[in-house]
Amino acid sequence: MSFLILISNLMVPLIFVFIIFYGYSKKVEIYDVFVEGAKDGLKTVLQILPTLIGLMVSVGILRASGALSLLEKCVSPIADAIGYPKETVPLTFMRLISSSASTGILLDLYKTFGPDSFIGRFVSVMMSSTETIAYTMSIYFISVKITKTRYTLHGAIFANIAGVIASLWISNLLWGS
């Protein structure tokens, strides 16, 4: 398992070194290109900001009103029985439906429990190994006017459930009490 920690620590530096050397070998003016590319990051953030404001407000209200803890209480019998952290149930479902709404819930969990708590770590791993199905399916299939998607949805849900189970398993192994 220390191997996974090693990857975590080395991944970003390795990508830096690899890309910089590759850039040199192709005689790319890497700094100029970097600055140009960094502007894209600014644009992306500007696109995210308004949706994040909207959804963090709605999730914030849901949390402050006590509605989220109510929901957690409702799902706790089932979640406890299968060993699933009940606080993360709303996020798990929202993840499939909306990327921005799930980000709102994710940030709420970070704020409430801390990113280094078990819940914080588990949801981090889960978010990185799952994908928003509803949005992706609609843009791709609408673009070619396909209405019968056959087993696509089943397969996507299956893959995502596998990702969630794997996340829980590895989180328990690494950080479980």
């Binding site: 996974l4 090693l6 990857i7 975590s8 990508i15 890309i19 590759y22 850039g23 790319v28 290109v33 140009e36 590319g37 960094a38 990051g41 600014l42 992306t44 953030v45 404001i53 963090m56 709605s58 999730v59 914030g60 209200i61 949390r63 402050a64 009103s65 006590g66 509605a67 109510l70 439906i97 709404a101 970070y110 801390g114 990113p115 280094d116 914080g120 770590r121 889960m126 978010m127 190994s129 994908e131 199905i133 992706t136 399916m137 843009i139 299939f141 673009s143 070619v144 396909i146 209405t147 056959r150 087993y151 397969g155 893959a159 995502n160 459930i161 596998a162 990702g163 794997a166 996340s167």
Partner: protein, 193 residues
């Protein structure tokens, strides 16, 4: 959909607050959350721009293109119905590589091109072809090796080691992708025998 989701969450929250007597908390939460969204985005601006800058070097130097080419043998195994050297395969590999490196803006156009090319090969234009199902499920099984956004969010909430989730995330991503491929392969064997 978000129109209902967003409004619904706020209305439910306020309705529950009316019962629990937490109206003042709701007001504060609305104000604090909007402030927090901005500070989160400021943290994210730095990390995300660093990443997009780095990826621009990878793109300009032709690294992304070479990696896409290296995908070819693997794609042959996944997309048996697409003829060799067909354009669809180029778009699919570009989409996959872009997804792996978290280049969402490059992934979506290539993905749509891939769908259009696969639609040309498709016999029944209303039904998704086998290749399309494989592509979509593979795509939605999550491919990204580093979620830069997540690291930014973790940094914003004072994680001691924001990047510690990369390795475990990679493992879970691998599991979900393999599960997606297996699902398609099994369904295909069962449907097209």
């Amino acid at each position: 959909m978000l129109n209902y989701l967003w409004g619904g969450m706020i209305l439910i929250g306020i309705a529950v607050a009316a019962f629990t007597g937490k109206m003042p908390d709701v007001t504060n939460a609305a104000i604090d959350s909007s402030k927090e969204a901005v500070t989160t985005c400021i943290t994210m601006t730095g990390i995300l721009s660093m990443w997009t800058g780095l990826m621009k070097i990878a793109e300009t130097s032709g690294l992304i293109k070479i990696l896409s080419k290296k995908m070819a043998p693997f794609l042959k195994f996944l997309f048996l119905q697409i003829p060799k050297n067909h354009k669809a395969l180029d778009y699919i590999s570009t989409n996959i590589i872009a997804n792996i490196f978290g280049l969402g803006w490059a992934a979506t156009p290539a993905g749509i091109n891939a769908m259009e090319e696969m639609q040309k090969l498709n016999h029944n234009k209303k039904y998704a072809s086998r290749s399309m199902c494989m592509f979509m499920i593979f795509n939605m099984s999550s491919l990204q090796i580093i979620c830069v956004n997540l690291i930014a969010y973790r940094t914003q909430y004072n994680s001691a080691n924001p990047s510690e989730i990369i390795g475990p995330g990679l493992f879970a991503t691998f599991v979900s992708t393999v599960a997606g491929i297996l699902f398609v392969k099994i369904v295909e064997r069962w449907k097209y025998k």
